[in-house]
Amino acid sequence: MKEEIIIAGFGGQGVLSMGKILAYSGLMENKEVSWMPSYGPEQRGGTANVTVILSDERISSPVLNTFDIAIILNQPSLDKFESKVKPGGILIYDGYGIHHAPTRKDIEIYSIDAMNTAIEMNNSKAFNMIVLGGLLKIRPMVTLENVLLGLKKSLPERHHKLIPMNEQAIKKGMEIIKRV
């Protein structure tokens, strides 16, 4: 198996950390993983994206031009990456802040109302975990158990108390993602 994934949105949305948790989950499953972020000032309010690859085989390039899955969390990212999804691939987006919905017919498009749900849950920090839940519902590339292990591995110990909240958010995401 090999999944080439781009996650893109605004800095501060938890794009990079979502990718990191996915990568750690892959590590827990003994997969080959790579996590290549955009870096620099983008991290603090501009657009941010991260390329995550999970594979059973050695990963060649951590930099890609097309993706199996694109997770899109703002309009500039949709404009940039919709065309980069491989035919037959998957695009997941949150409609919050998206003015022009994706239009491609040769890919599977899903929407997830993660931002509003996070606000309803009174926990905006859960946003990226809701999106991750949605992804795992569509493509169960790693088990929930290993995601939680990955979280444990990637979070400093003082934040381990947040893991149950993250689990709840992932499960919520699995419920609310829908095919467009």
Partner: protein, 359 residues
């Protein structure tokens, strides 16, 4: 027990590896995209465990001179920076080479010239392998292409530096520094004691004991006849390194019709290019120099009769391509492809360039 497989950034791997390799000191100054090296060391507080000194200097210039001070005492010391900061270090690097001091320098390259960009680049190839500072000197240059190699080359860099009493440099870039991959860290090694250093580095300025003459760490020699002798000695050493320490990797090179020469992150991207080419029935091989100096000239020259063309793919306007051309000496077509100023080409862009330039 097998070492644990971890997931970390290339920059973080360097910091962990430094502590585990028994480094005595790290001196650095923050600059993107390599600040995680200093940050990780400060977080890990090795002074409480191995006794390693970690210090944030007031400038890159101060940092490289701290390295000179530590190296002059025979200690295993290192610094890291990114392109503009490494330019500032060039004076110190020249002095280190002139005083024949071992040390490890890390350059996580970003786009230039000037303040440039913080995005990945390989435009410091010339600076690194052709001099950079003043005078006839060479740096042992290691080009990692994975997070694992970032970790491994710390130990290797120190080993080569002390073997030849010469600075070694890890020439990485923003991609390798910032990406996370699986890595197995090197086992813990004890730092050397003062007695061991006095024995292994009898030249070290550690305080003059009655049984020897004073040690003076210097690159100064006003008598040109003696200075020429010094230079001849350096050149002899460089010849030995060129003979003994060339390292490279060949991927899919057997029966390849075309050869890519690429290092570091570009070598990773080109591996994907090769996979894409295979699907189209095009046979491309990759020769990845691991040491940029000494350069694998003979290994590349061996392909002159075997391939229809060679392309040097670099994140710059064409630097390593000059060494590739020197290696094949006009016997086969050598082209260059690169993106500039911090843009990293995608694998398909490289394939298009190969088709356009070589086919």
């Amino acid at each position: 027990m097998a070492e644990e497989i971890r997931l970390m950034k290339g920059n973080e791997a360097i910091a962990h590896a430094a502590i585990r390799c028994g480094a005595d000191g790290y001196f650095g100054y923050p600059i993107t995209p390599q600040s995680e090296i200093l940050e990780t060391l400060m977080e890990l507080k090795p002074w409480e465990t191995t006794g390693m000194v970690v210090l944030q200097a007031e400038s890159e210039i101060a940092a490289i001179n701290m390295v000179y001070g530590g190296a002059g005492c025979g200690k295993a010391v290192m610094t890291s920076s990114s392109s503009p900061g490494v330019s500032l270090k060039q004076e110190g690097i020249s002095y280190l080479a002139g005083a024949e001091l071992p040390c490890l320098i890390i350059n996580v390259m970003r786009g230039g010239p000037g303040l440039g960009t913080i995005q990945p680049s390989q435009a410091d190839y010339f600076q690194t392998v052709k001099g950079g500072g003043h005078g006839d000197y060479r740096l042992i240059t290691l080009a990692p292409a994975s997070v694992q190699e970032m970790a491994d080359f710390v130990g290797l860099g120190f080993e080569l530096a002390f073997k030849y009493n010469n600075p070694a440099i890890i020439l990485a870039d923003g991609v390798i520094g910032q990406m996370m991959e699986k890595v197995v860290l090197p086992p813990f090694q004890k730092r050397r004691t003062e007695e061991e250093i006095r024995k292994n580095c009898p030249w070290a300025a550690l305080g003059k004991t009655a049984d020897r003459k004073r040690n003076v760490i210097t690159s100064l020699e006003l008598d040109p006849a003696v200075m020429e002798e010094n230079n001849i000695r350096f050149q002899k050493k460089y010849k030995i390194i060129e003979k003994e320490e060339v390292r490279y990797e060949e991927i899919n090179c057997e029966d390849a019709d075309y050869l890519i020469v690429a290092f570091g992150s570009m070598a990773r991207i080109c591996q994907k290019t090769i996979e894409m080419a295979q699907e189209q029935g095009i046979k491309i091989g990759l020769l990845r120099p691991i040491t940029l100096w000494p350069f694998p000239s003979q290994a590349i020259a061996a392909y002159t009769d075997k391939v229809k063309g060679i392309i040097s793919v670099e994140l710059n306007a064409g630097q390593m391509v000059e060494d590739v051309r020197l290696a094949v000496n006009g016997k086969v077509k050598v082209e260059h492809f690169g993106r500039l100023g911090g843009i990293v080409p995608t694998p398909d862009e490289v394939l298009s360039a190969i088709k356009e330039k070589l086919m």
